[in-house]
Symmetry: C7
Subunit: 286 residues, 7 copies
């Protein structure tokens, strides 16, 4: 930086240097592209082979494969970056070990990165999520698409792809780890007999349970959940196979509504008791 | 990193080395699998033996067993990782003691891990939770499935499995540490006599208390909780055996509603007093 | 860690060593159990003795006893842990004084622990809470069950046991430090005379004050608190003995409602003035 | 810790030592009790003397007295603790100056303590609060009972005693620093004449102002605050003596309601215009 | 602390020393009182002199005066404290420079103090507020009473005095820096002609603008702000002199309501279209 | 501070020193005032010259001018402060380089300052805002009045001047960077034909687009946005010139409402279907 | 700073120096402008060339181009700043390496900058966003306009340009990464047959699917989503091409509403059951 005096610069030599550097950069870039595509194919093949032989679930296999590619791409990029820095005559080790303001700044920058990698490592080690799981973390919900060293990708049900740095995943809810509960609340009139309504609802539930293979347990009418302002709310719960809970709930809602209707039990609208007062009495308020 | 010049690499030797390393890796991986399954069986047997002899509650026994397996698996993975690093010629101690940017970064990463382990250690030491307890921590509720060194697993009532890093468990509410309260609020009409209603409700409560073994104390009508906008709200509370509170509440709601109905006491809908005004007077507003 | 080469391990010696260690562990564990139960009994007896002689409130006595047991158990566990570490040939002092990554990590872990102990110490020193007090801290409310060096246990009114690390107790509201206020808001109609209503309510209050011993001051009708949308709200406040505020409020609500009814003063439902408009005029809106 | 080997301990000497230590502890404890009660009496007497001679407000005097006792008790406890540590052969200075993990941990613990003392010092120096003031800080409101070096005690109006560490008092609202405002919003009908209503309300206000000595300024009708959905809201404000604002507001509400009634000005209920549509036209919606 | 052995203390010498110290303390305290009152008077006089000669706004003059007194009082207290410490033989410099746990703790305590002074310094330098300004910062609003080195005092409109540490003043809204906007939203019926209503409202606005000197610009009807559920909302805005915005808004509301009434334009109540259905058809719902 | 013994002070010499210092202060203060006003004029003239010659937008020119004055005033104040410190014999460099408690404290204080300047620097460098732009940052909205090194001033639409430290400006929304969208939602009756309504609305939009020069694109009826509880909501959007969006929205609302009215398409009030039930049946509820 | 004594300054030499410096500054400024415009053109051309040859998506190409310009402009500004500092005789390296208060402060300032660059680097490396993508991050939504090293610019749909420092982008939702879901909820009457309604809705869906090319899957009626208080809610979902989801939803809403109408299936208004009570019975409430 001491010799930034513009007139002293040897422009020709500089242009030749720039040309050489560009050639080197191009060569390295193509090498990088070839190694990357070759590496990805090898990883893909290896996992196909392993997938067939050993007893690894398809979700786990996909997880490991996407992770392997992710690590491979980071290693490549790291080598790529170091090589380029060397072309410009900068030693990476010198930067990493460099003290002073720059070293400190890089250290702070690296902090987030390390946090991501450590958290990601334990998520994988404890098998908290696999590719294809339906998970919720923070305010993001969806199907896991990729678990990387630094970032986890979750596909929301509306099609959005959420990129979540692993360090942001503190607590994690996995909805694909066993049977799920279907829950339907249905309100009947205060005038109707509760026992009769329960009988009707339970019979319908039993019929559905016979037909629907996705139901593991129940559905059962468990009783009066709330004495609402206009209705007596009965709760029905069932245990279903994973991801089948919503379909079962929809089936239950339709069948139970039709069963109550068929048996003359009312699902009441909001009620209100009105008391008429003469406008004359109202003038007394003023 | 100084010799990354691509043309200098001896490709044959590299392939042979790679082959040897792969062989070693495979051997270590199988050893790891065998030791893991054997270890888990030994832990399981030991706890069965201890469970029979000593006076340890089943929940505590499960907790300790799941913890023992968890620690065992981490120790194995640590040995596994160190062995693999040695194959690649990297000394783990050198990394852990390594100063500079990497050491600092690892230190920051380890911070979260240590926080998890220390918190987990005190949760276990103070017996705050056991496997099978119904707990709430932060926004997560459910039955504890596993207490690990780093992560606690809670199964929500809808079937979701929550993975919570121990450091996220600051305050913890355990709903399985003694009898629980059942609470029912029931609104009667402003026209009805309060004393009469209390008598009817209390009689019903007493009948239920005789029949239901899960009720430890009460249920008792404790009085007028609120003078609502349309009803006089009476509160009934009872003490029940753990996890039986919801069933008792449901039973109470059904029985009390039927008792009031049988005695002609009204559970009122929302009320409103209407005052009719002529459209003529409304034109005066404009 | 340098000699992890699997083939070099002397398996027999290792097994004998393991056996000896297990024996030692068992011996120490039983010693630990005996000392613990003996110590707890001694603490219990001592406090019984002190409780009789000196003028310490029962709540304070329970607090100190539970604390003494808590400290005793931590000291025991610390000695227990150090002894076990010595069996494995690890010096605790070396760990505590150990610099590098591990020392730093332990330091961070200890930070939370020290914070807990210091906060707990001042809570006890300033007598902010005693066992049996009804307190609120953060979002947790209930009766204090145990005050430990590290954790305070609060039993919620629904039966839940809350474990709160002392460092989480920043501000603390103690509801068991003197008389409490009972507060009842009651709405009368805009048509009724306010003075008449106040007279009726105050007379009822005075009658209750004569009968109920838990009332320390009042209850008094202090005036018109709000001009509501449908009612004129009168406020009644009283001072009661500690924890009796809810019972007094319930008694007041019942008595005041019945007194108003007996004197023909209306507790009004929500009012609304309706203005009928012809559908013909409505077509003009579109 | 090096000689924790159980068999080497000389049990007799240990018991004698324990006995001596217990004796010393008892002696120190009684000395502590005597000095404490004597000191508190001296502080109390001194402040009575000062209070008579110098022009210090009673609130300030109580503040300084409670503070003096608080500091005195902390100094005593500190001396007490140091003496006890010496009995066990531990030098306090060594602990305070001790480096390593323990020193660091104590440093962190002390941080909160220093923060409390510094904040408390400036609250007292700037005379932000005195004992007896009605203050709000964070989510806590009430009368100040004690201002300590570490903790401030506020008595809520419902009787709860809030213990607030001084460091939690960031911003502070003192409601006892001058006259307060009484504010009443009253809605009149859209049909009524606004000028007439203002005249009626202002006359009532003037009458009250003559009678009530607690009113310093006003009350005045300042105009139309809102054009509500059913009423025209007029605002009345007054300046009252400290802590009299609520009583004045209640008096105003009652008097103004009665004045409007006497002059035939309506306080309207919520209004709604209804347009009847035939069920026939409704079938067109589906 | 080494010689705390109680029996070794020479009680007589100690009493004499204590007497001398008390005498010195009294002397310093009176000197402190005299210097303080003298200093405050000199500051007051100086500012009166400056205020007459130079062109400084009264608000700025008051700000500087209150600040000067505040700084003067802190300087005095500092000298006072250092003198007292010297009487007890403690050198302040030693404390401030003292390393170890105490130095560190004091450093942390000073941090908040420095933060207060630096923020306060820039608030004054950038003339963000003057005594008498109406400001909002965080959740506190009111008139600035005093700007100190450490704390700013804001008097809320209800009479409360808010003490806000300067460091808590991050963003600051000053409502006394130029003309303010008066804004009135008024709803007319869907049946009324919008152009006609705008003409009526604008005429009324123009009349007010002629009379009211506090209005700088407007008021103007700017158009249809919302198509509400029951009314068409028109917005009127004006620019008024500082602190006159509320009075102008009240005047506008009253005048505009009366103008609409006089011209037969309706301010509508909430509307609702009702469709009657027979109870017979309702039984079909159940 | 060592010679604070009051009797040793030479009062006369002290007074003379004080006089000399006051004279110096006055001289420096007047020099400061002259340089400041002269500097500001030079800056103003320079920017006028530049503004004429080069192609810089007026907003950018104002921004740079206000910034130049701001930097100039800070440099002056810095020189002023250093000079004054020298009069009192204090070297600024010594303070800045001073280690120990004071140096540390100043360092912490400076931290916020540096944060402000760095953020401000990048806001200016990236041309995120110019004087006159309408921006939103955090909870503050308005027109930018001044961008300083430390503080940005935003004038809210109600006339309030917000002072925002630059470090508080994390994310920033600039509403003056291109055309804006006008958006009107209008609800029609379920009985009306949607296609007909769209035709009517689109025709009105096209007429407005012809007349209003501020509309850049549209307005277009884009379709059924919501099936509301009482109406079918159609959305109209347009692209307008900057800051013209509100005027266009108001114009659209008025025109569209009148067009629908003219074509007999209803903007419906909230609807409700009522089912009459006899009071007799209601007694069954109780 | 030592020679700030005003009288010693050689004013003439100072003026000549100032003139020279201004000349240098002007020269450097023009050089800077020329290099900047030239560099930007070269970057633009290069990307046009690359865009034609290689298979890079247009979004990616724009991203890289805007980034290249951004980096280029920062490099230029850095060189520019260093050159100017040199003119004033200040060495940049000395500042960057400078210890003490200034070095520390710069270090803190740089921290945020490094955080921005590191986060930005990984966003680009992982291809989380491209120019033209529709993304949501924090509370900001819109189309990405520029991705810089330090700041990302997002254009909101209302025309606002959001400047977001990269470090503020923690989690990121990209709505342009594949097909999106269209979702319509439609409520039918409790009186209508659910199966019939589903048939009608599905037929309409199928017709739309045939015509609209943007629909990739569905739309399908998936069943009863809710049993509402006045209606049975049926849910329809479809998968559409990216960014076409809103248009499809609008089309579906219109077509489904018309289909239900044509088949006589009611979309019900809110329902309420009214029970008439005589004013006589109401007097009993009071």
């Amino acid at each position: 930086m001491e010799n930034l005096n513009l007139s002293q610069i040897n422009w020709e030599a500089l242009l030749i240097d720039a040309g050489l550097i560009l050639l080197k950069l191009a060569a390295i870039y193509f090498a990088f592209l070839i190694v990357k595509s070759a590496g990805n194919k090898i990883i893909h093949k290896s996992f196909e082979g392993i997938g067939r032989k050993e007893r690894i679930s398809p979700g786990r296999s996909k997880t490991l494969q996407s992770l392997a590619k992710n690590i491979f791409s980071y290693v490549l990029i790291f080598i790529f970056a170091v090589t380029i820095l060397q072309i410009f005559g900068i030693k990476a080790t010198a930067i990493l070990a460099g003290a002073g303001v720059i070293g400190l700044a890089v250290g702070f920058g690296a902090q987030g990165l390390v946090s991501d990698v450590v958290t990601g490592f334990f998520i994988l080690l404890e098998r908290q999520i696999d590719v294809g799981d339906y998970v919720t973390t923070g305010s993001y919900s969806g199907i896991v698409e990729q678990i990387g060293l630094k970032t986890t990708q979750i596909r929301g049900f509306d099609g959005t792809l959420h990129y979540i740095p692993n360090r942001e995943i503190t607590s994690l809810s996995n909805h694909s780890r066993g049977n799920m509960r279907a829950l339907v609340d249905i309100g009947i009139s205060y005038d109707d007999n509760i026992d009769e309504a329960i009988t009707v609802l339970q019979e319908t539930c039993d019929k559905i349970a016979e037909v629907n293979q996705a139901i593991v347990e129940g559905p059962n009418v468990i009783g009066v959940q709330t004495l609402g302002s206009s209705d007596v709310v009965l709760r029905i719960i069932a245990k279903t196979e994973n991801m089948e809970q919503w379909a079962v709930e929809r089936q239950l809602r339709k069948a139970l509504k039709e069963a109550l209707e068929a048996n003359g039990i009312e699902i009441p609208f909001p009620h209100q008791v009105l008391i008429q007062k003469q406008a004359g009495s109202e003038s007394a308020a003023g």
